[in-house]
Symmetry: C2
Subunit: 335 residues, 2 copies
Amino acid sequence: QKNHKVVLFPGHGIGPEISQAVCDIFAATKVPIDWEHHEIYTKPINEAGDLIKEESLQAVINYKWGLKGPFATPIGKGYRSLNVTMRKKLNLFANVRPCKSLAGVKTPYSNVDLVTIRENTEGEYSGLEHAVVPGVVENLKIISQPACENIARYAFEFARKNNRKKVVACHKAGVMKKGDGLFINTCKKISSEYPDIEYTEEQIDTVCMKLSKNPEVFDVMVMPNLYGDIVSDLCAGLIGGLGLTASGNISHTCAVYEAVHGTAPDIAGQNKANPTALLLSGVMMLKAMGLQKEGFAIEEAVTKTLSEGKFLTGDLGGRATTTDYTKAVIGHINL
Amino acid sequence: QKNHKVVLFPGHGIGPEISQAVCDIFAATKVPIDWEHHEIYTKPINEAGDLIKEESLQAVINYKWGLKGPFATPIGKGYRSLNVTMRKKLNLFANVRPCKSLAGVKTPYSNVDLVTIRENTEGEYSGLEHAVVPGVVENLKIISQPACENIARYAFEFARKNNRKKVVACHKAGVMKKGDGLFINTCKKISSEYPDIEYTEEQIDTVCMKLSKNPEVFDVMVMPNLYGDIVSDLCAGLIGGLGLTASGNISHTCAVYEAVHGTAPDIAGQNKANPTALLLSGVMMLKAMGLQKEGFAIEEAVTKTLSEGKFLTGDLGGRATTTDYTKAVIGHINL
Ligand SMILES: CC(C)[C@H](C(=O)O)[C@@H](O)C(=O)O
Ligand SMILES: CC(C)[C@H](C(=O)O)[C@@H](O)C(=O)O
């Protein structure tokens, strides 16, 4: 059996240290992965304003797998958002963000177990906008049937594969009758192919109200781009923040997993960063590769390390270094 | 001194009972108000699909004040959203929703004290949408300089008048560079006229993450229409839900205060409903009328009734009737 090749974007700030932690933990499980390091640039590298080389995108296509650390966004204009570029160029049409309460991380909510599935390529992120007259800007939000079908089917397949019982489509079709209307109508149509999954629809404002009041009511949540951006962060807040949450961007043929937190320049290079978000994103990747055993082993080791509470990094109120935490996780791996 | 005339829209479902409760409590304070009842229709009353008579809108303009209970939305198409119609026709450009933890109502967070100030007339609510080709819908989000100026100025004036220290402008200008860019640039410009108020900017996803993790970090939050729809409900969830939160829609010359919860058809007419949201919306109105004394007296009576916990309605886990609760509030009024 050949090793999987994975394109690793360590990124900036704390990116390299937490990437190293992930590589060390993966190595400890002897998971059959070879990393190929690629760079994200802090300044545009061409006229189009790209922050990533074409060959790096091509590598993701060739190897099928990418893992991406946090990266610094250039100041000012003249660049293309790296995330948006990757999603469009690689057709990473689904963004998946599971949020599950972690033993050992105290938050007001202890029974959170949510998955946000976000349409990742269109909606408010079309990039189409212009000033109609000076002082009046028009942004276009695009909703297309094929993209709705892709994301709806992905959500139901995800629910089925992961033994989840419910999918809720989140929308504002009372206001955006045609656009969000197309979204829910498509979800509803696809839902009929999945009679084993309970399907409901809920307005995005109500969703957010219920999430902050009573997050247990939801399970898998599927929605257009911007709502997904908002809801996935809201859910991350419920379990302790972006430093603990995994994210995967999925196309039909490749995927890029990522930490969605910042580069934390204040602690960069000081061996203080918490690698959990990137690590759990890596675990998502392992499971998608079919390396369930290693994936679950690492996940359990993380849970044990966090709930034990002996080696917590500063963000969780502890004093452990990144290396301490990494060693603790490795020590808890049971294969 | 002449009485204030207020247009009262009792609405549907539990609307009439909670409106009665508000009238009774107001009467107990001898506040100088005369109510004029107006109807909201459950079916369109004209070709345009309106759910409200032109003369009712005119009454709000004439008297300057309106109070609106929950109302049923027609099933199917062919009607115009009542809220959106009112906001546009009366130019109710600001929606103000304060959310403050209420003693006696247990929620995950006890120190919430937030105010969402939402641009109420444009953005994603422009109503402009069309299918470009079959299966591809374009929604227009409109952001205009005058509307941004209005809402920004309103937010800073609100902060100053209410002794609040901070205003944060919430946006997604990294993605909607021109539209949301215009919004934050305008907020920033206006902020320079209010050096006494701390001004910051924050991405809407980050805002929602922080709200669910650590809601104390914010104070007054100002934002475009859809974000305000979402954030105000999120904040309501933090303090116990829409049954407890006030809302005001403000123009330069008139205002409509409202309960934003549903009509609760399952308990309608049974003397079980909680009138708090409509009552606190009425209190906002009293304060805006300059009737501070009565406003604060009612507010305090509500707090006492809730924290005493003897006469709670079913939604808060109690067994009191609407009438019991109303009497308890009246009993606590200290003028
Ligand atoms: C960086 C930004 C463009 C991005 C987004 O809004 O999608 C980020 O917030 C995310 O959620 O991945
Ligand atoms: C009923 C609906 C159009 C409305 C809105 O989205 O503005 C409601 O959710 C609100 O917040 O007042």
